[in-house]
C-alpha cells in the first residue's frame, strides 16, 4: 500500500459550530492503481485531496492518519509538506485556467518549478525534461506552447500542460481533482485516455476525484463512494457497477443511468 488513509475526520468551522466534512474515512491505494473517488457536490471529495497534501484551512479540526510509504504525513511540519507536495504527491485541479499564473509564460512557470522543486541548475537539462514531459502528455507544437501565456491556450492544452508539469516532478501518487469537468467531451475523452497511458508508462498511482460515473467506468480499477463525508463503499469497479451494496451507491447509479437514457 503506497498511500493509506486511516480514520480521517475533518470538520470546518462555520459561524456557530463545526461542520463535519469527513467522518472517519479509511481507505488505501496500491502502487499503480487508479482509485476513483465519486460523490456529489459537498460530499467531501476535495477535502480528502486537501488533507492528503496538508492544505486544510488552519481553523479546521482534524484527526486520523495518512500513511505514505510507511510514514505518517498527516499534519506534518510545513517544511516536510512542502517537499511532499508536487514532488511526491502531485495534484491536478479542476480548472486549468486558474492553475497557471496569467502574467508569466508557460516556459517560465515550467522552468521555475523544476528549479525550486528538483533544484536543477543547468538550463539545457531543464529544457530536456520539459520537452520530454510535454511529449509524454501528448502536447503538440510544444515550442509554440512554451512561448505562450495561459490565456492564449485552450482548456485542453492547458490541462495537458498541467499534467506535464505534475509528472515532471516524478511524483509516485497523482491526485486529480475533477480534472476534466471544465473540458468538453472530445477533450475529456482524450485526457482520460492520457491518464491511462501515464499509469502504464510511469507506474503512477492515480487518485481520480470526479462525479462523473462514465469516467470512472472507463478509467478506474477501484471505486470509493463518498456521501456527506462518509465512505459508503469501496470496491472493485466491476463489482460495484454490477452489484452495488449500499443504498446511496444504488441511487447514484440509478440517476446516472437515467441521465444516459
Amino acid at each position: 500500500m503506497i498511500l493509506e488513509v486511516k480514520d480521517l475526520r475533518v470538520s470546518y468551522k462555520s459561524r456557530t459550530k463545526y461542520v463535519d466534512a469527513l467522518k472517519k474515512v479509511s481507505w488505501a491505494v496500491k502502487q499503480g492503481e487508479i482509485l476513483g473517488i465519486v460523490g456529489e457536490s459537498g460530499s467531501g471529495k476535495s477535502t480528502l485531496a486537501l488533507s492528503i497534501l496538508n492544505l486544510l484551512p488552519s481553523d479546521s479540526k482534524s484527526s486520523g492518519e495518512i500513511i505514505f510509504k510507511d510514514k505518517n504525513i498527516f499534519k506534518g511540519q510545513e517544511k516536510e509538506s512542502e517537499i511532499l507536495r508536487g514532488s511526491k504527491i502531485g495534484l491536478i485541479f479542476q480548472d486549468p485556467a486558474s492553475t497557471f499564473n496569467p502574467v508569466l509564460t508557460i516556459n517560465y512557470q515550467f522552468q521555475e518549478i523544476l528549479q525550486s522543486k528538483l533544484n536543477i541548475k543547468s538550463k539545457p537539462e531543464r529544457k530536456k525534461i520539459i520537452f520530454d514531459c510535454l511529449n509524454k502528455s501528448r502536447v503538440r507544437e510544444s515550442q509554440r506552447i512554451l512561448k505562450s501565456y495561459p490565456h492564449q491556450l485552450s482548456g485542453g492544452q492547458l490541462q495537458r500542460v498541467a499534467i506535464a508539469m505534475a509528472i515532471a516532478l516524478r511524483p509516485s501518487v497523482l491526485i486529480a481533482d475533477e480534472p476534466t469537468s471544465s473540458l468538453d467531451v472530445t477533450i475529456e475523452s482524450q485526457v482520460v485516455h492520457l491518464f491511462k497511458e501515464l499509469r502504464d508508462e510511469l507506474k503512477l498511482t492515480i487518485i481520480f476525484i470526479t462525479h462523473n460515473l462514465d469516467l470512472v467506468k472507463s478509467l478506474c480499477d477501484r471505486v470509493a463512494v463518498l456521501y456527506q463525508g462518509e465512505l459508503r463503499e469501496i470496491r472493485k469497479k466491476k463489482e460495484l457497477f454490477a452489484n452495488p451494496k449500499d443504498d446511496y451507491t444504488r441511487s447514484l447509479l440509478d440517476s446516472f443511468s437515467q441521465l444516459e437514457g
Binding site: E40, V185, T186, S189, H193, H211, N212, D214, F256, L259
Partner: protein, 310 residues
C-alpha cells in the same frame, strides 16, 4: 399531423472581428425547430452553439440571413418585440442568471410584469396579484413556497436552476432555449432537472431548443438532432436515425467521445476551404476541399459530407 416549423433560419451568418481577423462563428446555418418538439444542437466548445442561441434572441445582429419565427423575420428591429414575448432562455450557469440582490419572488415577479402572459395577468400586475401565478410557477418546477423571500446565494445550484426554468416558463413562451442547463450541476441533480424538463415539455407542449455537447444526454430528451462544427451544420435528422446510424465522421467522433472511446485526435493544418472538418477527418478524399452540399441519405436524415451520395 406533421408538426409545423415554428422557427427556421436561412443561411444565417454571424461574423466576429478579432484582432483584424474575421471569425466565422456561424457560417451559413440552416436549422429549423418543429412546434411542440425538442430539437437538440450538439457540438464541441466554440462551434457556435451559443452564438446561434444568442442570435435567435437578438443579442447579435447577423451579417447575412434570416430567422423566420412564425412567418416573421425576427432579425429586423421592428420585430424585436416578438422575440421578447415568445422566446425565453435558460443559461448554463444558474448562479449568474439571477440578480443576486433580488429575492426569488421579485425575480419571478419582474418576468411576469414585463410582458403579459397569454391568458395570464395583464401587463401592469400588482405584486399582491402576482402571488398565485408565482406559486403556480414554483409548483411546476417542484419548489416549495418557502423560498419566496430568499436570495440566490441561499439556494443550491439545482434549486436556482429550477427557479430559472420557472422564470422562463412563467409567461408561457412558445419557444424555450436551454443552453447546457445541466452542465454545471452534479449527476444526481442533473438527472432530476432532466426529468423535470422532460415532464414539463410534455405537459405544456412547449418547443425546446436543447444545446449540449453531451450526446448521451441529448438522446434522452430530443426528438430531432442537429450536429454542428465550426459554425456549420454537419448532419441532422430525427434522433433515432442520428443515434442508430451516424453518418458524418464528426458525429461518429462525438459519439465515440461521449463513450470515452476517443483516444487521440489527429489534426492537420493548412485547409482553408471546403468541409470544416477536413483537418481532422480520417476519411478525407480529394473532393472534400470543395464545399460540401446537403445530401439526404435516408428519408429525413441529411448530411453535409462528400462521402455519401444522396
Amino acid at each position: 399531423m406533421e408538426n409545423y416549423k415554428i422557427l427556421n433560419t436561412e443561411n444565417l451568418k454571424v461574423h466576429f472581428l478579432q484582432k483584424g481577423k474575421t471569425i466565422k462563428a456561424l457560417d451559413g446555418v440552416d436549422v429549423f425547430l418543429k412546434k411542440g418538439l425538442v430539437t437538440s444542437l450538439a457540438g464541441e466548445s466554440g462551434c457556435g452553439k451559443t452564438t446561434l442561441a444568442k442570435t435567435i434572441l437578438g443579442f447579435y445582429q447577423p451579417k447575412e440571413g434570416k430567422i423566420i419565427f412564425n412567418d416573421k423575420d425576427i432579425t429586423l428591429k421592428k420585430n424585436q418585440k416578438i422575440i421578447r414575448e415568445n422566446i425565453q432562455i435558460v443559461f448554463q450557469n444558474p448562479f449568474a442568471s439571477l440578480d443576486p440582490r433580488y429575492s426569488i419572488f421579485y425575480s419571478l415577479y419582474e418576468a411576469l410584469s414585463v410582458f403579459p402572459a397569454k391568458g395570464g395577468p395583464s401587463k401592469k400586475i400588482k405584486k399582491s396579484e402576482s402571488i398565485p401565478f408565482i406559486k403556480k410557477a414554483l409548483a411546476e418546477v417542484e419548489l416549495e413556497e418557502d423560498i419566496f423571500e430568499r436570495v440566490p446565494h441561499q439556494l443550491s445550484g439545482g434549486q436556482i436552476q429550477r427557479v430559472c426554468i420557472a422564470r422562463s416558463l412563467i409567461n408561457r413562451p412558445s419557444l424555450v432555449i436551454l443552453d447546457e442547463p445541466t452542465s454545471s450541476l452534479d449527476v444526481t441533480t442533473a438527472s432530476k432537472i432532466m426529468k423535470l424538463l422532460i415532464k414539463l415539455q410534455k405537459e405544456l407542449e412547449i418547443t425546446f431548443l436543447f444545446i449540449s455537447h453531451n450526446l448521451k444526454l441529448l438522446k434522452k430528451i430530443s426528438h430531432y438532432c442537429f450536429i454542428m462544427y465550426r459554425g456549420k451544420i454537419m448532419e441532422y435528422g430525427p434522433r433515432d436515425l442520428i443515434y442508430s446510424n451516424p453518418l458524418h465522421p464528426y458525429t461518429k467522433l462525438l459519439k465515440e467521445a461521449s463513450e470515452q472511446k476517443l483516444k487521440y485526435l489527429e489534426e492537420q493544418k493548412g485547409y482553408l476551404s471546403g468541409c470544416p472538418f477536413l483537418s481532422r477527418c480520417p476519411l478525407k478524399k480529394s473532393d472534400c476541399e470543395k464545399e460540401s452540399v446537403r445530401k439526404e441519405v435516408e428519408p429525413g436524415h441529411f448530411v453535409y459530407c462528400h462521402l455519401y451520395k444522396g
